[in-house]
Subunit: 187 residues, 2 copies
């Protein structure tokens, strides 16, 4: 089986649609137009339909997270944690377009429409975030328990600030979090 250039871009483009519209808002018509494939072609790649497309997006995100953020922060030591965390903060800020984009962890977790496997992926994604941030805090000398608590709180505030940014049309809480969380994790 030959992978075309289109194939490499398929899941990322799916991700773009789901991130922009949420699970319910991402209709097959919208997806079809965005990726440049007819609905029937999408079903050829994803026999499980829309739910499977969503799971593919989550799965790719999890893998990506583990290859970059995870690996990066888990191998950090006291000497380089801060700069690595600063780089992560910059990346996260861009990923969410400084608070103007949504988080799939939030928008795809409504109603359990992705099936048990989808719910598992969502939970694993959240756990991966916390584990990575906690590892960084630990590398900076914070006790494991406290490190984990701070990491969880950062994720909580990430999700919450994105919700507030959407509702209030004001991403300042998100931006402040991005600016502060590396320091908060380490101190």
């Amino acid at each position: 089986m030959v992978r075309t250039a289109q194939d490499d871009q398929l899941v990322p483009e799916l991700a773009t649609v789901f991130r922009a519209h949420g699970y319910d808002g991402a209709s097959l018509a919208l997806i079809s137009e965005a990726v440049g494939l007819q609905k029937s072609s999408l079903y050829h790649r994803f026999p499980g339909g829309k739910a499977q497309m969503a799971r593919a997006v989550l799965s790719a995100m999890l893998e990506q997270l583990r290859e970059s953020l995870f690996a990066d922060l888990h191998t950090a030591d006291a000497g380089n944690v801060r700069e690595r965390l600063d780089a992560v903060a910059t990346g996260v800020g861009e990923f969410y377009d400084q608070g103007r984009r949504w988080c799939v962890l939030e928008t795809m977790s409504l109603g359990g429409r992705l099936g048990p496997e989808g719910d598992r992926l969502l939970a694993e994604l959240a756990a991966a975030w916390i584990a990575a941030l906690a590892a960084a805090a630990q590398a900076a000398g914070v006790e494991p328990r406290e490190a984990r608590r701070r990491a969880r709180d950062v994720l909580v505030e990430l999700e919450g600030s994105l919700v507030l940014a959407r509702v209030s049309d004001d991403p300042s809480a998100f931006r402040e979090l991005i600016a502060e969380f590396p320091e908060r994790l380490c101190r």
Copy 2:
């Protein structure tokens, strides 16, 4: 025009459905069954359809918030802020079923399907929360600017912890927030 007993319960029952399923998940079939009225009867009460029903729910919540929480916390003084905040915390914990329920601020703000008026209500709801909590912190002696910041952070963490509770099926962050936010606002 006579208001029946049903009328008084109509919006609260609508709220229950929207809170449990989100805006997209709350189909008219579901709503119809929950409130015990046929779809056409619902359209008699809400000619604007589902979006108007959702706005009615938000409007009622805003009014409720201003009558209870808002009035309660805005009239607090240094002597009774803490106990009032503790009461609020208990109420909030119950309102969200200790982290197992969703927040309409989050689930109804996806996609702007409620129209401009709906978006305004959502923003006002968030602002009302922050204003009320900030007033309490101020009554406890915290500077206005700092009070506002703490209030915003509490709302951010409220939303975020509810998202994390849903995704991870673990409401511990929410419960900790409920236990701690009165103290955090005042100290």
